[in-house]
């Protein structure tokens, strides 16, 4: 157990020195494996991991969902989503911020990345909020927070990675994210209402629209609804495997963008290259993490951790809460994907070793834990000092200060904690839908 702790410290040290995370994890994994088992098996291990991760059919969902998200961004569906939610909510106090949250939720349903959701929505949602005199804090806070929904509401690249690491059913993980995602939207709406109750000047009401206009605006979102029903409905109904669904979703969003005349050959090539680069980056972080976790497995840290926790005689839920606290702390300094890759291989065997009794269906335990982990990761995306979504907003809207965005995000952060606790204590929120799947 001691060697594993040293390895973690060494790796964190390398990361702080700005060694690329993939390399830091791979190097520590190789050195540790070499010291414990031998250098020639260690070299064989890293070679095999590199080779096999590339050849994994299950992972082909990753580039396809990234591609789908990038096509959807370019197709301009975000404008219609915002327009429609604005038609229904805009006239309320704080209504434009509420519309932003709802539109982010809708966009998340066709995009698997939080960063892409935040980047796309900031371009659509920020200008109107500014026009109506919204405070920068509320405007940017609602976009940064709304964007985090991207990795919870399926499709979700992070859930795919979690599924691969824990060998869980990716379809079930996706379906389990639906209700917690909707809960997130509802709580974010509440956060907006509370903010404008405290400070009415932060979000003045917009214009009220007639019902006719509202229905017309609603018709504009059929594309998003169609893609979501096709992809997620297909997975839920057992018609598609996740890979097939991803391929269909990517093709569908490609045809959409094509029909809407948003694509030239050059744009398609740019989108493809961008998706390929993102994919490659994710894969090499994943490869590094797998080398690291292979080493962690030979240190027996997971089994010793289970024994240690069992000896403490605390309730399993206390353990889960402690794990959550660890995540919230780590989330302050680590980037979200690396955080999941580093910690899940250590924590999931621990979870499997606990006796939850009747609290949860053992078959769905890892699905529930996946949703909890992803929600914590969402929180880390808007937690200072490394909240990635805040950085994305800063690059898209350079005129708004970092402090302003973090201040704006605070109410959303608070309701996120509430949601996290609800999800921990009431697993049915996540597990009801997947328990119906066969």
């Amino acid at each position: 157990m001691l060697e594993a702790l040293f390895a973690f410290l060494g790796m964190l040290g390398l990361i702080v020195l700005r060694v690329p995370i993939a390399f830091a994890m791979g190097l520590v994994g190789y050195l540790g494996y070499g010291l414990l088992i031998g250098w020639s098996p260690a070299l064989a291990m890293i070679t095999t991991v590199t080779y096999e991760t590339g050849l994994s059919y299950g992972l082909s969902v990753v580039p396809l969902f990234i591609l789908m998200g990038n096509f959807v961004s370019r197709a301009g569906l975000s404008d219609e989503l915002y327009h429609a939610s604005n038609a229904f909510l805009g006239h309320r106090r704080g209504g434009l911020a509420m519309a932003t949250v709802v539109a982010c939720g809708g966009f998340s349903a066709v995009c698997g990345s939080s960063l892409a959701t935040a980047a796309t929505m900031s371009k659509v949602a920020y200008p109107p909020m500014r026009r109506y005199g919204y405070s920068d804090a509320l405007a940017t806070g609602s976009i940064a927070a709304g964007g985090t929904l991207g990795i919870l509401i399926p499709p979700s690249v992070i859930l795919v990675i979690y599924g691969i690491l824990t060998e869980s059913d990716i379809g079930k993980l996706f379906i389990a994210g639906v209700v917690p995602g909707l809960l997130g939207v509802a709580l974010y709406l509440a956060a907006v209402m509370i903010t404008v109750r405290i400070n009415p000047a932060a979000g003045p009401p917009g214009e009220r629209m007639e019902w006719g206009e509202r229905w017309r605006a609603l018709r504009g979102v059929w594309g998003v609804v169609f893609l979501f029903v096709l992809v997620i409905g297909g997975i839920y109904g057992g018609v598609f495997t996740p890979t097939e669904a991803a391929g269909i979703g990517a093709s569908g969003s490609f045809f959409f963008a094509l029909l809407r005349r948003r694509l030239t050959t050059r744009v398609v090539i740019d989108i493809l290259i961008e998706s390929v680069r993102t994919t490659s980056m994710i894969f090499f972080v994943l490869i590094g993490a797998l080398m690291f976790s292979n080493f962690i497995n030979v240190t027996a840290l997971p089994t010793e951790l289970v024994e240690w926790v069992t000896a403490l005689h605390v309730s399993p839920l206390t353990v889960v809460l402690l794990v959550v606290v660890v995540y919230v702390v780590l989330g302050c300094v680590l980037e979200s994907l690396s955080m999941i890759l580093l910690t899940v291989p250590v924590f999931y065997p621990l979870l499997l070793g606990l006796d939850f009794g009747d609290f949860i269906d053992p078959e769905l335990l890892l699905i529930w834990f996946g949703i909890v982990v992803v929600v914590v990761t969402e929180i880390s995306l808007i937690t200072p000092p490394v909240g990635l979504n805040v950085f994305v907003l800063r690059t898209v809207l350079p005129e708004v200060g970092m402090g302003t965005v973090f201040r704006g995000v605070t109410p959303f952060w608070c309701v996120d904690i509430v949601r996290l606790l609800l999800l921990v204590f009431l697993p049915a929120i996540s597990l009801y839908l997947p328990s119906l799947m066969r």
Partner: protein
Amino acid sequence: MSPGPSSPTEEIKSPPGGRLSKALYWLLGGFAALLLFAMMALTFVDVVGRYFFNAPVPGAFEITELMLATLIFAALPLVTIYGEQITVDLFDTFIPNTVRHLRDGVISALSAAALFVLSVSMWGKAAESSGYGDTTAMLNIPIAPMIYFMSVMLALTGVVLAVMAWWSLSGHEQAHSDKY
């Protein structure tokens, strides 16, 4: 903290850097882009074929796997050139420029060395696979060429990193910008 995946933006970007890195961008990026598009089209045809015509594409599974592996390795030099590897730079503002270049140079050099080791080991694996005559189960596609390709891409990325290390350590002007 560099936000890893570049965010999708409306404007068309031209690749930064010198002529060589532009050539690499279009060559490798174009190749990987083609593979991704083919992968999408293949899945589409396979699914439509299976559900509507009861005729899936034979071996689609295998082709997807090979395309996936090839495209992520083809894109690795690009990701490295454009500095898109995920890093955490919490303390960067506190470090003087000269120290930062020294540090970046050392890190790039070490990463290059590691990639060369991995590349050589991968070459051995490729030779082994070629010796056994390994092929995929359904379509009998030989696997060795793809492993050789992985090895070559790892080495190429190593070269990119070695150049970056040299630039950082010798104070080359391009090392002072974020993009190479």
